[in-house]
Symmetry: C2
Subunit: 362 residues, 2 copies
């Protein structure tokens, strides 16, 4: 256990909206934040105590950054391994670079889960012509080809409708290591955002339902309407993964629910997650604060929900309608301080609250 | 109407916990904050986009500050009149310096209310030996002698138990203009935190009950347990005052409730207020966000309460128990990033949430 008390400094790699909301949560607890990001106008810089503008590969800047903080965390899973190594030689990095490196690779991630008896979507590695043929046999088509590393919100992905399209799709992804994921006949996507403290304590926020458009999260419904059995199963999966990674911090587990009520793990995010944004307004302690508490060695907060919530992302120019959203009943508007409202860019979100049990079916 | 859209900058005079929580609320809305404060380590500096360290009398610094912001507001009522004048020549200052100057003076403040038919605690001005004698006649003793200007949390006040003590008490306060306030046989202190937008729209948070220790707020119970008639009367008083001042922003009205259920206005605060801190966790839109919305020309947010709340201030070394508070059920911990935990200093607060109607009687 190493504790960062009030007045201490949490260092965050990444200056986007997640880093920004982490910084604001840390400030609530009397902690200072230092943000490290390559963009000179990173949104998180607007709300932090200090910041470093430098590429993630800048060894000297990383050392300077580490010297000014008490613990390091990150807002995104694509932290270069070298940066994590440099930093972890100087300060605690949480979640650990080991968990990060497994989750950074879709094949390792799913293999890790499968080895622990957690059911995932069907998958196979493609890193050679031979493994491509093997993947066609084990997973088949229709399926989705994804680069094993990097990629989010549908980037670095190709849908493969027929076996003979696979080789071409892999060529288009430049024959980098990929995984082929079988189509799952799922009814909806659910996710659990959960945290594990340095003492091994786990706290799960309620299971939620996520709806996507064009591979980007559009809406999260909290809580998911689901039988208690499904909720318990989802929390069990998240708890199991957190323990297996000896994880410290917030993790999101995205799952598909099949028609017969089974849960298949689709993706693990080793960080705060868009599907947990509703917790800022729906819980006494948000996912952002929970993550800060965990990495700073504080007790985890009570994750219970005081209200039902519907969280909707504001993408690109949708954020221009801030005035209408701001007039809504029981509505919290969150804007991320980003300059240009490019189509599809996450500019903010709105959370509408409802008394417990009274959320309309959307 | 002049609107500061997302991306614009709100300037805040004062860098204490109120400025800090205002800055965090502005950031939620995608607004930047610039803080002006004389202390080089003002807590609000840790969470803002830019800041100026200078005395409030530094004309050049005020001009520089005003140039970098789109609207000016303040966290405390004791903004020097000169500073308000300089700033309002350059940018909109909200609430207006006129309201500020009336409320800065306890005598003017109470006279303003009384002239509008609002019942206050009994009071009289003392600025000469003759007015001292008149005050003894009209208000009498036991009573409290307060400097008309400055003073908060019991500073600049003397209790006067008998007529013959008054002259000495006034001498001790250096014969500055004072008001003598009659003791009121009240059952409890209540307050309303309310906001008025640039369009004249008013939104009142629920009436709350405040409990003090040593003249410092200890606990706020939200909502106050009170008949609907009393709640409506309190909201009416706040709405009337906001309108009379043509006020823009958040105002707090402290009232005494007498045994027979009457409300007497005790004090007006032209700013966000300690008795409104519970709104951060108990409402979708907090008093801080509401103030920012008003001064930035946004629509006011829905002030309705999603949870009952008990807010407790952490004074001085009490904040050292942050770990216990952080472990509480449905509890939000707020620490202000202040260095030294001097006895009585407001270091933070905790808000415990309860389902509507289920707050225990504390």
């Amino acid at each position: 256990m190493s504790v960062v008390p009030p007045g201490g400094t949490v260092g965050i790699l990444g200056g986007g909206q997640l880093g920004r909301m982490l910084a604001m949560a840390a400030a609530r607890l009397g902690l200072k934040c230092a943000i490290y990001a390559p963009e000179p106008d990173a949104p998180a810089f607007q709300v932090c105590d200090s910041h470093v503008v430098a590429p993630y590969g800048d060894h000297d800047a990383l050392v300077r950054f580490a010297r000014g903080v008490d613990v390091v965390t990150y807002e995104f899973e694509n932290v270069p391994g070298d940066a994590a190594t440099v930093l972890s030689g100087l300060k605690s990095v949480r979640p650990s670079p080991v968990a990060l490196s497994v989750i950074q690779d879709r094949f390792q991630e799913k293999s890790f889960a499968r080895e622990r008896g957690i059911v995932t979507t069907p998958f196979a590695l493609i890193d050679s012509d031979a493994s491509l043929q093997a993947a066609l046999k084990s997973v088949g088509t229709p399926s989705v080809l994804k680069t094993a590393r990097l990629g989010y919100d549908g980037k670095g992905q190709k849908i493969v409708r027929a076996d003979q399209q696979l080789a071409a799709a892999w060529n288009e992804l430049r024959r980098v290591p990929c995984i082929l994921e079988g189509f799952v006949d799922f009814t909806r996507e659910l996710s659990v955002v959960a945290a594990r403290g340095q003492d091994g304590q786990v706290a799960c926020f309620d299971l939620v339902e996520n709806r996507h458009e064009n591979h980007i999260l559009r809406t999260t419904l909290a809580p998911a309407k689901a039988p208690q059995r499904v909720k318990a199963e989802a929390a069990k999966i998240a708890t199991q993964l957190l323990g297996a990674f000896d994880y410290v911090g917030v993790m999101a587990v995205e799952m598909f629910e099949t028609k017969d009520g089974r849960l298949l793990v689709n993706e693990i995010a080793p960080r705060v997650h868009n599907s947990g944004h509703w917790t800022i307004d729906g819980c006494a302690v948000s996912q952002f604060e929970q993550h800060v508490r965990a990495v700073a060695g504080w007790p985890l907060g009570d994750p219970s929900r005081h209200s039902d919530a519907v969280m909707t992302n504001l993408l690109g120019p949708e954020a221009n309608a801030w005035r209408e959203y701001a007039s809504g009943t029981s509505t919290a508007v969150h804007l991320y301080g980003k300059g240009e409202a490019r189509p599809g860019r996450k500019m903010g979100h709105v959370t509408r609250l409802f008394p417990l049990g009274l959320r309309p079916d959307a």
